[in-house]
């Protein structure tokens, strides 16, 4: 796995000149090549902290799932409950799992009832690019993102017509199969893919007593996911682009719980949208997005029809954004972002719909030395009224390729439907309709640079979350707490002796300001090292992920030990069209836990054969 860290200032990266000998330069056919990295959509990289993971990175890493790919990336802690397809929480910068905004092709994902995104079900095969923008000083859509924004883009296609197929098999009877076709000519592009991933899995949870009930289901907890993605795009003669995109994943997963409660889920994750990019005037880009996302889960237990629960969220999204390029250095953006959530459930919520709308305006200046960003985003929630969030960031570019930035941002997050409107259980209240939104502010100092073959980036920040929602002594959600999160993130990317290596090291101190106890499931220290080498037809690589100990509960009664996991991988090109890949996950067969009492995979080998036409 090698995410691409982007540290260079816009100007610096843009002026990268391919140095050619004069003799070559002098031939007409040798063009002057101006290269630059594609800018992230999620946030401005000179002023905030962004990690980009490209398709090439995903393929090189051979990662089995999205959580595995994201685990240990700068600022990220992932807690999975029992392997592939099991409930997975992502903690970005030590904030709560619900404090991350997740967009798939610009469409907001997630469950309105739980307030989180089902990371475990998003199929890696369909993903082209991932942008992780840390902190609230991220995208225009990020005011609800206390921890940050993660943008996922599905496969784009384009280029010559090609098709491919891959099949893989490994331990726990894990199998996958994928078929794809992509292409495009001139002003059209398309990509269509289907994939099927299944595993028999392993026992998700050790025998445990929870709330005086014994949970003991020593079975294998399997998982199956069938996914498809489609993208069609056309570029009109005037340069406008119209794109249709869709992603769907559906399947089945099994887990462990106490009898007679549900221990299986059927799920659907879907995002579909239409994006139009056009120009009202020559120096402006207008982006219009219309879309819908679905998060559906049906929990049940075989033979217990009264134990069937349905939680469906449907979210409709409209956004309009206009970027006006005033000069080479100044950009002004303004727009509108509206989404409404509708809940359909067997559980009778006191409210089942919510609409949120925001307008935003942003001014950005990127001059030779100074960068400036100012943003204001008034938001209206039909249950909580008006909230305004904003950002201010300043950057300075030193000549020996060092960038310094200072930023301040605020964010806002409305309580979930579960916290607000969950019905009483056996006559006892379980939700609190008087909850107020959580608010946060973050101050961040960044230092980044490029020296020879080394890209480096260090971010130091402090986030304060007010009105943090936690369970009170009666197990009712309440705006009781205040959290203070201090963190340092270091990312290094180096090319040395033929090895491409990326290191992400995160130091985190996230505590509840009342109790001075560390927030649960956040490791104080996290490290991820990816290193890869391509030697002719063969490729080798390894990933090391290590995390220090953390507590599984707010009261620090359940401690989960630190761990280190080593994954090895190799690939071999058999001719032009065939690629054989193999990986050995958890090569040292470490027994460790991400969440207390939940098992993780042991040493496991997985082999994939991939065919691609016309490469």
């Amino acid at each position: 796995m090698s995410p691409c860290y982007r540290y260079r200032s816009g100007l610096l990266a843009a002026s990268l000149w391919s140095v050619l000998p004069a003799a070559v330069l002098a031939q007409e056919d040798a063009p002057i090549v101006v290269t630059a990295t594609r800018l992230a959509q999620a946030a401005d990289e000179t002023l905030s902290s962004v990690t980009v993971i490209t398709r090439a990175d995903i393929e090189r890493s051979q990662a089995a799932s999205l959580p595995e790919l994201l685990q240990g990336q700068a600022g990220i802690n992932i807690a999975s409950q029992g392997g592939d397809g099991k409930l997975t929480a992502l903690y970005l910068r030590g904030t709560n799992p619900g404090h991350v905004t997740v967009l798939v092709d610009g469409i907001r994902m997630g469950s309105a009832t739980a307030g989180t995104v089902a990371w475990e079900f998003l199929p890696l095969e369909q993903i082209e690019r991932i942008e992780i923008a840390r902190g609230p000083n991220s995208a225009l859509y990020g005011s609800e993102a206390i921890g940050g924004v993660i943008q996922i883009f599905t496969r784009r296609g384009g280029g010559p017509l090609r098709w491919g197929a891959s099949a893989g098999i490994g331990r726990y009877h894990t199998r996958n199969l994928a078929l794809d076709a992509s292409g495009g000519r001139d002003d059209n592009w398309f990509s269509a893919r289907v994939a099927r991933d299944t595993t028999d899995g392993f026992n998700a949870r050790q025998p445990t007593v929870e709330f005086s009930t014994l949970i003991d289901e020593p079975d294998k907890d399997g998982y199956g996911n069938t996914s498809a993605s489609l993208r069609l795009g056309h570029r009109f003669r005037d340069g406008s682009e119209l794109e249709l995109h869709g992603l769907q994943a559906s399947g089945h997963t099994r887990y462990d719980s106490a009898f007679p409660y549900a221990d299986e889920d059927d799920f659907v994750q879907q995002s579909a949208g239409l994006t139009l990019r056009t120009s009202l005037r020559e120096s402006s880009d207008l982006t219009f997005t219309l879309g819908r996302s679905l998060d559906r889960r049906r929990s049940f237990r075989a033979g217990q029809p009264d134990q069937t629960y349905r939680f469906h969220t449907e979210r409709r999204v409209i956004s309009v954004q206009d970027d006006l390029y005033l000069t080479g250095t100044d950009t002004v953006s303004a727009g509108l972002d509206y989404h409404d959530d509708r809940v359909d459930s067997t559980t009778v919520y006191k409210q089942t719909a919510r609409a949120t709308g925001a307008v935003f305006a942003q001014y950005q200046r990127q001059a030779q030395r100074w960068s400036l960003l100012a943003r204001l985003r008034p938001l209206h929630d039909d249950q909580f009224g008006y909230y305004t969030t904003g950002n201010l960031a300043l950057g300075y570019h030193f000549v020996p390729q060092i960038d310094v930035s200072l930023s301040y941002g605020t964010a806002y997050r409305a309580p979930t439907f579960n916290d607000l409107y969950y019905p009483d259980f056996l006559g006892y209240p379980t939700s609190n309709p008087n909850l107020q939104p959580e608010t946060s502010d973050t101050l961040e100092l960044g230092l980044a640079g490029t020296q020879h073959a080394l890209d480096w980036d260090v971010r130091v920040y402090r986030t304060r979350i007010d009105q943090l929602i936690v369970l009170d002594s009666n197990y009712l959600p309440a705006n009781l707490a205040q959290a203070r999160i201090d963190g340092v993130e270091t990312s290094l990317a180096v090319h040395w002796l033929g090895w491409d290596s990326k290191l992400a090291a995160t130091w985190l101190d996230a505590e509840d300001s009342r109790t001075h106890l560390a927030l649960p499931r956040r490791a104080r220290r996290t490290l991820r090292l990816d290193t890869d080498r391509q030697a002719g037809r063969a490729g080798f690589g390894a990933t090391l992920i290590a995390q220090s100990a953390r507590y599984d509960d707010a009261g620090h009664s359940r401690r989960v030990a630190g761990y280190g996991v080593l994954n090895l991988r190799a690939s071999w090109r058999l001719g032009r069209k065939l690629l054989l890949q193999g990986r050995l996950d958890n090569a040292l067969d470490q027994r460790y836990q991400l969440v207390d009492t939940y098992n993780t995979a042991g040493r496991s080998l997985f082999v994939t054969l991939r065919y691609e036409s016309g490469t």
């Binding site: 816009g10 330069l25 002098a26 959509q41 970027d323 080479g328 303004a334 305006a361």
Partner: protein, 228 residues
């Protein structure tokens, strides 16, 4: 929300309106470059008819012979002719410093017989000029070094492509004219290339190679984005 939506729409419209009113006019730099793109302006200053130009062999001065200084803007061979259209640009390879022997006669140069253009006898005569053109090109490239900036908007939108710019360098080494020979299909990239070339007034070190004559050089500029 019903109350809010019109209000936000109005706010957005006001914002955009204010921005539109506030936006400064395009820099004159760009306007100048645009004016230079106009074929009429170009041909008015330098009446050129490559199609009716004399055959290459006939027009080329003898080896070592001094070119007529009073005709700095005259194209002595189609090899040096400013490429005026995309069609002509594609005939460029026939006029490379090292012509390919198998090159078929180009429709654009009906008067230049294949033998005269590509066989041995004419090559020594052309060597001096080819070297000179290459050297001017090298000097121009050196002057351009690190000046190109990938436009931010193109980096965000993922725009890539190759733009070919025709550059006329005067006998004194000054850049007289710029012209898009072949567009990258992205106006932003075309303009960025022109803007960059437009900032160079003088090609350093080129005078020595120009032999007192103007030259036309096609500069291909490839904008390429890396994904990560």
């Amino acid at each position: 929300m019903k109350r809010f939506l019109p209000a936000s729409l109005l706010l957005h419209a006001l914002l955009l309106g204010a921005l539109a009113a506030w936006a400064p006019p395009h820099p004159t730099l760009v306007l100048r470059t645009l004016a230079l793109e106009l074929p009429s302006a170009r041909s008015a200053a330098h009446p050129v008819q490559p199609a009716t130009a004399p055959p290459v062999a006939a027009a080329r001065p003898a080896a070592g012979g001094e070119p007529p200084a009073q005709q700095p803007a005259r194209y002595r061979s189609h090899r040096e002719a400013p490429v005026q259209t995309a069609r002509m640009a594609r005939t460029g390879p026939a006029a490379e410093p090292h012509p390919r022997p198998a090159q078929p006669p180009s429709a654009a140069t009906p008067t230049a017989s294949p033998g005269a253009a590509a066989t041995g006898p004419s090559q020594p005569a052309s060597r001096h000029e080819d070297t000179a053109t290459s050297q001017v090109r090298a000097a121009l490239y050196a002057a351009l070094r690190a000046r190109f900036v990938y436009p931010r908007r193109a980096r965000l939108r993922g725009w890539q492509g190759t733009v070919r710019v025709g550059v006329r360098v005067s006998a004194a080494g000054r850049i007289l004219q710029l012209r898009i020979v072949e567009s990258s299909h992205h106006a932003v990239l075309d303009r960025a290339a022109l803007d960059c070339l437009d900032r160079i007034r003088q090609v350093p070190g080129a005078v020595a190679w120009l032999d007192g004559r103007a030259r036309d050089i096609v500069v291909p500029i490839e904008y390429r984005l890396t994904d990560g």
